[in-house]
């Protein structure tokens, strides 16, 4: 069980409608039921750790939550459901839903072009036509990460422009995970589904990455600046094999092993 000092604990009970609500999800792979009748709520501002042994279906659950997989009916025919922001998944247009509940693959994929071209590419999608690429914002987020060795010069200063100009396919594992986060944050998501987001990073970079996400969570989204409610609305579900990290970054835990009684 995780004990957290985060202030967001307990706030969930004050909310009437959870941000994301999962009811009775089941998942079968071949003949085996990976998980059965999973139900939990994620309130605005929640930081949920998703745990479970290898093969317990953590990534599958994130995929399902992001709407990439079909919600299967359970062994006795029961229908699982996902609700987000007061609407059931079926009422959502998937591109809109997926821009609000963003899934980041553990090993992110990029097109064979520069990092910046990859970041800009998302704005070609119909769902994001009303938002624009913001280079300044990307650079300021990169600055928070103080990426080591992104410059080709030996002066030791960081060259953030240089990072954006690099071919995305040549990024190291950790750098790719950073680029993937930057790409997704452009969409102003409300929920992040993070699948081992720092698995390829060293200790220092991991700390900076966590700081960036904490800051992101506290930011008030631009379209809600006049809202009287200034408590964090953004939430995440975090999968990690590092219990220390989950203790730092999460205030609640949902364990897949326990749910299945394994």
């Amino acid at each position: 069980m995780l004990h957290s000092t985060d202030i967001s604990t307990g706030r969930t009970s004050q909310k009437s409608e959870p941000l994301l609500s999962v009811d009775n999800l089941c998942r079968q792979v071949s003949a085996n039921w990976i998980w059965n009748n999973i139900s939990f709520d994620l309130a605005a501002g929640d930081r949920l750790a998703l745990t479970g042994s290898s093969g317990s279906g953590k990534s599958l659950l994130l995929r399902t939550l992001s709407g990439l997989d079909v919600i299967a009916s359970g062994p006795s025919g029961e229908n699982g459901s996902i609700r987000f922001a007061g609407k059931s998944l079926h009422e959502w247009e998937m591109p809109q839903y997926r821009s609000k509940v963003c899934y980041i693959q553990q090993h992110p994929t990029f097109f064979d072009e520069t990092v910046e071209a990859n970041l800009k590419r998302v704005f070609r999608l119909k769902a994001h036509q009303n938002i624009k690429y913001d280079r300044e914002k990307i650079l300021s987020r990169l600055q928070q990460l103080t990426l080591p060795n992104t410059a080709s010069d030996s002066s030791g200063t960081n060259d953030y422009d240089g990072f954006l100009e690099r071919p995305a396919k040549e990024l190291s594992g950790g750098e790719a995970q950073i680029a993937a986060l930057l790409r997704v944050l452009q969409l102003e998501p409300q929920v992040l589904l993070l699948d081992e987001p720092t698995s390829s990073m060293d200790v220092e970079l991991t700390k900076l990455f966590e700081k960036l996400l904490e800051k992101w969570q506290r930011e008030i989204p631009e379209n809600q600046t006049n809202s009287p409610n200034s408590t964090p609305q953004r939430a995440w579900i975090w999968v990690s094999h590092n219990p220390e990290q989950l203790r730092r970054m999460c205030s609640k835990t949902f364990c897949l092993d326990r749910e299945n009684g394994n």
Partner: protein, 266 residues
């Protein structure tokens, strides 16, 4: 025109088959182990062609639109099944999709060519319909086969890329667009290549046949030009149709990629 034409007797055909004896002899001497295959292939070819000649003579004589179109649909069915036969992966409606695409593409171009360009009356007149249809089906079959194979293969190989786009808010069409384009380009390479070197590297079969039958080369070339346009158009229509149908079968309205619907042929 008829003056130049040589009618072939059975003896002449038998004499031609001596060429196959050369092949078989070579195989025996060099121990290539191809004797059986050469024999079967020769017999099949002769049998199938004699049967087709017989069948077409019969359909020509009947000159009944239902029989003519019936035989045409049968030919398209065989082409549709053959097009799927070469692919390494399958999904449940693949044969239907192939059939709809090949029949739709062939019917469209044939109708356009026979009643629009050649202005034959009636447009299903078998003397024109069957030779053209045979060439159209052969080429469309190749296009469909290549397009299906490429599209299904890249969906499985590039799955992460597709799902990355989907999870960033792409519609299924946006996520698969690159793959669809790639499949269509691949499927139309043979058609484009053969158009590029037409007349230089290859003298097409139909033109050669007409010249043999006594038509002047200048005249035969005109038919060939029309024929190439028909073939290219049918191949493009058929490939596009089959890829779009495959796309619709492998994604759902919820913009989810349903790769579990793809079964690898063992």
């Amino acid at each position: 025109m008829e003056t130049n034409y040589i009618f072939l007797s059975g003896g002449q055909l038998l004499f031609a088959s001596l060429l196959m004896a050369v092949n078989i002899g070579l195989s025996l001497v060099l121990k290539l182990g191809l004797v059986k295959q050469w024999s079967i292939a020769s017999l099949r070819m002769v049998g199938q062609l004699l049967l087709v000649g017989f069948l077409l003579d019969w359909v020509f004589a009947l000159n009944n639109p239902f029989w003519i179109l019936g035989v045409a649909v049968f030919m398209a069915t065989v082409a549709a099944i053959t097009a799927v036969g070469r692919t390494g992966k399958r999904f449940s409606t693949i044969y239907l999709n192939s059939f709809v695409s090949i029949l739709g593409a062939a019917f469209f171009v044939m109708f356009f060519a026979l009643s629009g360009i050649l202005q034959i009356d009636p447009w299903y007149s078998p003397q024109y319909l069957f030779p053209l249809l045979g060439m159209v089906l052969g080429n469309t079959l190749n296009g469909i086969s290549l397009a299906l194979e490429r599209f299904m293969e890249s969906l499985s190989v590039r799955r992460k890329e597709v799902e990355m786009l989907l999870s960033l808010g792409a519609t299924s069409w946006e996520a698969a667009h690159e793959l669809i384009r790639d499949a269509l380009r691949t499927s139309l390479i043979p058609t484009l290549n053969s158009m590029m070197v037409m007349g230089i590297v290859s003298l097409p079969g139909m033109m050669t046949g007409q010249i043999l039958a006594g038509v002047s080369p200048g005249e035969a070339v005109r038919y060939q030009i029309i024929m190439i346009f028909i073939i290219a158009s049918a191949a493009a229509l058929g490939s596009t149709s089959v890829v779009v149908l495959a796309f619709r079968a492998l994604f759902n309205k919820r913009h989810q990629l349903l790769l579990e619907r793809l079964q690898t042929v063992t």
